[in-house]
């Protein structure tokens, strides 16, 4: 209905109306007394209403205090008091000016002025009360809030009690007053806000509170003076609420004043602690805004100097990438720095510091020394670690001897750790970004490499073929391919490049080139491997080699010619014997012997296939798949093939992969693996 501003204005207006009503009812009472008719209660009711309105008005008007506006709140109290005091002084001087005049004896005029005083004093007391309330309840606890509530309710009740006929210092007055004061004890000692004032604010607060106290004293003298001199319709001195409020405000002002005064000498320590917290914050946030390592070290040096009260310092450290030495200096001119460095080298025990191996050892060593120099008397030499390696030093110097204590050392240590965390985080972020880029590139590589494996395998009337390949990383080193040489013959290769990942993938692509060039020349396995070895010898990294199996399948003669270059032995299932066996012919991997004598190590075999025979070619990722030290092995592979030999090639291949995944989950497959199944379906009736 109302916005906050409207509400405040309305309450202000009602307060003024109540005050006017109070004034008029007082006059009415005075007139009525002459006519012996009227009661004193009506003005009392309006006074009570006036108090309530004022409380509501100031509760809404004076905002919650924040750390930055304690002084503002005090300032507002001061201004309100100033206005009240000035107006009240004008009235007193007016009255004293006309002291001998009859006018000053006029009851109506005196009560009119007194009513103005009531208004001013009430406004000042209540606004101050609300301001104090805000200060007391700064960072309040549950218990404090409860105590405060008790006190506040009791205070409000006294407004109503005032409607009874109570005189200053009679029995009722005393009971109520002491009751309120007991309740006020807990709120009175809550001065948390004082701790948050800095040195300058403390001085301002002292001044303002001092003036507020003097207002209060002035008002008390003034009101007592009034009540002793004149006959009044309403005497504030008889009002328990006003007296209790007045006492509370005055006590809190005095306590605050004293506490601030005694806190003055220690405030520089608090400020330094605060500064340290801010330094921490700066260090921890420093690298988020595109700053360099050097900036963090500059902040570290500055923070350390201010935390230890040092006069100057410098810092030399290797950067995270170890590609540069970072030097920061604070408070030295060039020539001075060089001179002091030379002096420090001569200090006894300083060389031993270089033996510090790890952060944990730092505490065991003496880090502060005294030096002989006209300007500086003591130094602190603190080791800086980057990537757990001693990489540099921060040196702080002081003009006084024995200038560095353990507390300061701890502080420097904390700053250093924080700085290190910042720098490390920064690098981690950079690395992550770089990694993201690599990942993207690897994805492309993966696509390219996938396209190197054949999309479809060459078929043959006699032959049913299926293949499956997967890589441990984004890209792998397994390769298989087929090539139709002529109507009857096709070439087939399975290879595994040593190692895995990107380098293996590149070498695999070389192999593809070799296969496609030589296969079309219809080279026999012996010649193929000799040529391939020759080609690869020139390009393969010296630690790399490639194992391979090469097959030529001749449909016309139902013959397979093959050789093994260090590759896993081929599994051959003979349908006649219903048995599978590994073809253990001799061979040597490509790239081991890089000279023409390699040809002596290639052994070509051949065999004739029959209907239902199965050939299984694979890479060591299959047989060497491990589960808790146990390998999938040759026997398991053989069993799977023997059991499923009656199925077609695709089904056999599925069964092998299924068996592999049953043996161990995909996670334990940490190598590239490939399996190729060939099944011969010779229609013997048709064949010659």
């Amino acid at each position: 209905m109302f916005n906050k501003k409207g509400l405040i204005r309305l309450l202000g207006l009602i307060s003024i109306i109540c005050w006017l009503a109070l004034l008029l009812s007082s006059f009415n009472y005075l007139f009525g007394r002459w006519m012996e008719q009227s009661s004193q209660n009506i003005p009392k009711v309006f006074l009570a209403l006036f108090f309530v309105c004022l409380i509501l008005f100031y509760q809404n008007r004076i905002k919650r205090v924040e750390q930055t506006n304690f002084v503002d709140t005090l300032w507002k109290v001061f201004v309100t008091g100033l206005i009240a005091t000035i107006v009240s002084l004008i009235i007193s001087s007016f009255l004293s000016f006309f002291r001998d005049n009859k006018l000053s004896q006029n009851v109506l005029l005196i009560n009119f002025f007194y009513n103005i005083n009531i208004g001013l004093v009430s406004a000042f007391l209540i606004s101050t009360y609300v301001a104090w309330k805000r200060l007391i309840l700064y960072q309040y606890s549950k218990w404090l809030f409860r105590f405060w509530r008790f006190f506040e309710y009791a205070l409000w009740i006294t407004i109503i009690l005032n409607l009874l006929d109570i005189k200053f210092l009679d029995n009722y007055f005393r009971i109520i007053f002491f009751g309120i004061m007991v309740l006020a004890l807990v709120p009175l000692i809550n001065l948390k806000w004082v701790a948050y004032l800095n040195f300058g604010q403390k001085w301002k607060s002292l001044l303002l509170i001092g003036i507020v106290i003097s207002y209060l004293i002035y008002f008390s003298i003034h009101l007592v003076d009034y009540s002793s001199k004149y006959r009044l319709v309403i005497n504030l001195i008889d009002n328990v609420f006003v007296i209790a409020l007045f006492t509370f405000i005055l006590l809190y002002a005095i306590i605050s004043f004293l506490v601030i005064l005694f806190n003055l000498p220690t405030s520089s320590v608090f400020e330094q602690k605060l500064e340290e917290v801010v330094s921490f914050q700066r260090l921890s946030q420093s690298l988020q805004h595109g700053q360099k390592e050097e900036d963090v070290y500059a902040i570290l040096l500055k923070s350390s100097i201010s935390a230890t009260n040092a006069d100057a310092g410098w810092l030399e450290v290797n950067s995270m990438n170890e590609d540069a030495c970072i030097t920061v200096n604070e408070g030295f001119k060039n020539g001075q720095l060089h001179a002091i460095k030379e002096k420090i080298e001569q200090v006894k025990g300083i060389k031993q510091l270089s033996q510090i191996q790890s952060l944990g050892e730092v505490n065991k060593h003496k880090l502060s020394f005294s030096i002989k120099d006209n300007r500086y008397r003591s130094i602190l030499r603190y080791p800086l670690f980057v990537k757990a390696k001693l990489s540099g030093w921060m040196v702080l110097v002081k003009g006084v001897s024995v200038g560095f204590n353990n507390d300061m050392l701890e502080m420097v240590k904390a700053f250093t750790n924080q700085a290190y965390i910042s720098i490390e985080n920064h690098h981690l972020i950079q690395e992550t970004l770089a990694n993201e880029r690599y990942k993207e590139e690897l994805k492309i590589a993966q696509k390219v490499q996938r396209s190197l494996l054949p999309q479809s395998l060459t078929h043959n009337e006699d032959l049913d073929i299926a293949a499956f390949s997967d890589t441990a990383y984004e890209v792998g080193g397994d390769y298989y391919d087929t090539y139709r040489i002529d109507e009857d013959r096709m070439a087939l290769i399975v290879s595994d490049v040593s190692g895995k990942g990107t380098s293996a993938a590149f070498q695999m692509s070389q192999l593809k080139g070799i296969f496609h060039s030589y296969a079309q020349l219809a080279l026999d396995p012996h010649e193929f491997f000799t040529q391939a070895n020759l080609a690869l010898s020139r390009s393969l990294d010296k630690s790399s080699f490639i194992t391979s199996s090469y097959y030529i399948i001749d449909q016309k003669n139902k013959e397979i010619t093959f050789a093994r270059a260090g590759h896993c032995p081929t599994l051959y299932y003979s349908n006649d014997q219903k048995k599978a066996d590994y073809l253990k012919n001799k061979g040597l991997a490509l790239g081991v012997l890089r000279n023409p004598s390699y040809k002596n190590y290639v052994h070509v075999n051949n065999l004739h296939y029959k209907n239902g025979d199965v050939i299984v070619l694979y890479t060591d990722g299959i047989t060497e798949a491990q589960l808790q030290g146990e390998e999938f092995g040759y026997e398991r592979l053989k069993d799977v093939v023997e059991k499923n030999a009656s199925l077609n090639a695709q089904e056999i291949q599925n069964e092998i992969i299924k068996a592999l995944f049953q043996f161990c989950d995909t996670e334990c497959l940490d190598d590239d693996f490939t399996v190729l199944v060939l099944k011969f379906n010779v229609n013997e009736n048709v064949s010659k």
Binding site: K542, S544, A589, Y601
Partner: protein, 114 residues
């Protein structure tokens, strides 16, 4: 995991391999091999070698590429059947000296260096 212990047993340098040589640990082995092969006669104790991957074989392959004609001698010994079969599969056993035990390995290395 791979642990490599290097023991000087003049005139030999002895490397004791414990654990597994895979793609990641092969780098460790490679560095150690580089270090010792420049120092002369090398014995490699594979008694506690549980596994060697193709990348691990690659390290020996690299040694073999370097050693041709350099006069450096290297003998492996104490290979389990499994490890031996891996060397045989690839054919590296035909070029690297492999002995049963340490004494035999020393004998082998002395004969060949004469």
């Amino acid at each position: 995991m791979l642990e490599i212990n290097k023991i000087a047993d003049p005139p030999f340098q002895k490397l004791i391999l414990i654990g597994e040589v895979d793609a990641s640990t092969s780098i460790q082995l490679d560095q150690m091999m580089e270090e010792v092969t420049s120092e002369g006669l090398v014995l490699i104790d594979c008694t506690h070698l549980a596994y060697i991957s193709s990348a691990g074989l690659g390290v020996f392959n690299a040694y073999f590429q370097d050693a041709e004609g350099s006069g450096n001698k290297l003998v492996l010994y104490g290979l389990s059947e499994k490890i031996k079969s891996v060397f045989e599969l690839v054919g590296l056993d035909q070029f690297l000296s492999i002995a049963e035990n340490e004494d035999e390995a020393k004998k082998l290395i002395n004969e060949s260096s004469v």
